[in-house]
Symmetry: C2
């Protein structure tokens, strides 16, 4: 009987979770993948083998008698091989099985200067070989969780009847009017209006484009790349990053916060269930508080507090001697990360929605509250990180929105956006999740450069 073609994932799946018949049927197998490590003590050799389908390696064992012994003994870290072998259950060992090699072919050898050797490398070093680091343990875990988390987002919204809208990346507007966009110009053209007959730039948010779809389909979301030409050289800023931006008609700020809470809990539970090996790895190697933190958030009731209450609590904390770096707390200020973290970590000891911010520090499209001073915004703050999600109810009143946009001088080119308030507009709300930051949160990874496949930050672009 010919050996059965299989993978790391399928082997573990059958041997750990299969029934006795399934296990008994696993006999001779064919595997293709890469050598992680190889040690040969003369009479017996061991290869840690991985084909990328599962976090755990398969242990290959080769004996002196094997017809391809010399090839096997010569294999170097990183080599691509095809083997056939016999599966041996080893319930008494750490690994539940091993594969005794019958034959081996070298599919692709490794040059001597292979930079990804067995020893532990720094994340800084691995960033320099972004095309090879996915083979390292940490990045096997990071990019598998990235994929699972992205799918969790889609599943959450699709299950609830939200439509996925591909909002455009090239646009004429700069979203929140914050500047710092990238211009887009046909290659080597001198005239920036050349291609479209208009200056264009990369989008900073899909929200303005997705709102008209909420006003047609009720519940919609975008999930795509956004861009900021900011020279912020921090561990949390990238110039290209993925955003999730849901938008819901007939939805007020309270409904909005409920969806945010449900979404974050869904994503955390989804990853905990789908990636236990990866999350255990992060918990032991990256952040020992990770699993506790994720469970805590998944099981917490998210608290709600107004910005005004928050400022009062922070002022009291200063009076009581709490040692903020910035102690000058006043109503109207943009809270810093240390202030947000105080509220979520020290005051409510869990996830916290801070709501109703001063209108002057928030975006033009947020709905003005009756006090005339604040807007119906909400930021979700979580322990250890601070802000994770930002949302708001949108200003649906044409006159108020137009006055604000005129005042800011951004009406021209956004007439279509105002139209949505003129033609059957209604109460609606939405939020934005920085996907890369959410991934940092669920993995414990500390630098956005280490959760993006090919990170884009200022002054470096090798790929």
């Amino acid at each position: 009987m010919a050996p059965v073609k299989t993978t790391n994932f399928d082997l573990y799946d059958i041997i750990v979770f299969g029934d006795e018949t399934e296990k008994a049927n696993v006999n001779e197998v064919e595997l293709e993948g890469w050598v992680r490590t190889n040690r040969d003590n003369g009479s017996i050799g061991f290869i840690e083998f991985n084909d990328g389908t599962y976090f755990k390696n398969v242990q290959l064992v080769y004996l002196k008698e094997c017809k391809d012994h010399d090839l096997l003994a010569s294999l170097r870290t990183g080599a691509a091989i095809k083997i056939t072998g016999k599966v041996k259950l080893t319930p008494e060992n750490k690994q539940p099985f091993e594969v005794e090699v019958i034959s081996c072919e070298l599919e692709g050898d490794v040059a001597d200067d292979y930079p990804l050797q067995k020893k532990r490398h720094s994340f800084e070093f691995l960033r320099e070989i972004a095309h090879l680091r996915p083979r390292a343990n940490t990045f096997q875990a990071v990019f598998r969780v990235r994929s699972v988390l992205a799918f969790a987002i889609h599943e959450f919204f699709q299950e609830r009847g939200f439509l996925y809208i591909h909002t455009p990346l090239i646009t004429t507007n700069d979203g929140e009017g914050a500047g710092n966009v990238f211009d887009v110009i046909a290659h080597d053209s001198k005239n920036p209006e050349d291609f479209y007959g208009h200056r264009v730039n990369l989008t900073v948010t899909g929200q303005l484009h997705v709102e008209p779809f909420a006003l047609a389909f009720r519940d919609v979301y975008t999930f795509g790349p956004t861009f900021r030409a900011e020279h912020s050289n921090t561990v949390r800023h990238a110039s290209e990053f993925w955003m999730v931006e849901p938008e819901m008609a007939f939805c007020d700020l309270n409904d909005n916060m409920q969806v945010i809470e449900d979404c974050i809990k869904y994503c955390i539970n989804y990853v905990l269930e789908a990636c236990p090996d990866e999350i255990n790895f992060f918990n032991s190697m990256i952040d020992k508080t990770l699993i506790d933190r994720l469970h805590h958030v998944a099981n917490s009731e998210f608290k709600r507090m107004t910005y005004t209450e928050g400022v009062e609590l922070l002022q009291k904390a200063v009076k009581d001697g709490f040692n903020f770096e910035n102690k000058d707390i006043f109503w109207g200020m943009d809270l810093q990360s240390e202030h947000e973290r105080y509220l979520t970590e020290q005051v409510v000891k869990g996830p916290l929605f801070l709501t109703d911010y001063p209108k002057d520090i928030k975006a033009f499209y947020m709905r003005q509250n009756d006090d005339g001073k604040t807007v119906a915004a909400c930021d979700l703050l979580v322990p250890a990180v601070g802000e994770l999600v930002g949302g708001s109810q949108r200003e649906e009143r044409y006159d108020l929105l137009k006055a604000k946009m005129d005042f800011m001088g951004i009406t021209e080119g956004l007439e279509w956006y105002l139209d949505t308030r003129k033609y059957g507009g209604c109460k609606h709300s939405g939020f934005g999740i920085g996907f890369d930051r959410l991934l940092m949160y669920v993995t414990g990874m500390q630098n956005i450069r280490d959760v993006q496949p090919f990170p884009r930050t200022s002054n470096t672009i090798k790929y």
Copy 2:
């Protein structure tokens, strides 16, 4: 008892598919949505109401006695309303139920100049109001299918253990070396190298960036926007469009074709099942052959034929008097759409993989066959459209690939790509699906401008 908040979708779901108890429990409901049409004959009025959650309208009925009769009678097409009403089952009518209005609130009125009136509008006209056309029937159907099809893609690959990789949009390379890229420059900067220390452009393909991930995770895919600064003013070209690009290690051209076939069939069956109302609408309003065509492809065995055989058949067809516009058929030419359609429509009468193209008309990364003249490429041709998917086995042999890249002068900046052939490289393959074109195929829509939320084509960008 307070009325139950519900939606078009949930009402139809319960009344058409629910059991007797569920139906009996539907009594007083609250709905929020938009007026499609309103006619009042004095004693009784009818509103076609839709909240965007489902393709079919709910019929609202209002009587003279209703306390909000005057408001109801005055409602115009497009108005946003909230109503409470009593559900009446009408199994004898075309609609299985109607809602008799008890109360109505106007949430958002419509200005007199609302461009989306009851009458039928041309697609050209509707393109000019891309922010409002999602409310029109055709676009309700298009964008729902777009969302469902996108999710089908994700589900197909996730179920099979593929990892979703977010390849970067800003890059230093132009993919296939075809030129026609968009440059990306920090806003108003005079120096194109300003931000990244290097000239950068928008990606034309995620393939080069996703290959290193296939060589780490075996099966991966990208699904994101790509860009071409081409002034091709056709119904099938846009400057911004979404591509699906799977890449598989230890996979040859034959395996690759099997995945393409499975994927296309999965997507078609998924949409047929999830969107029957929309597909019926397209079949009656857009393309009367649509459903037959989709069923035919879903149930066909995809045929395979080499480019060389294809050229011979085309030459024979010319000899036999078939009236191609371009009758000059020779080995080495790039086949035109009429030639591709002849092979798929007239010869095999179904989906056809054309394989092993002349190397000079295909991309540099495709694997050279032993004949030295052709490469291991495959294009999937389907009736009524022509090319739907393009794929290939990749050149994994370092020396051959390097020689080709040197010859084309594209090695500089792509050393990292060559690295993947130096360090444990292996047989691998992948393909690309133009997502917008696939959507045109499954809906019968004839213009790419009518399947993108805000289409991006040369010389027009209003949003």
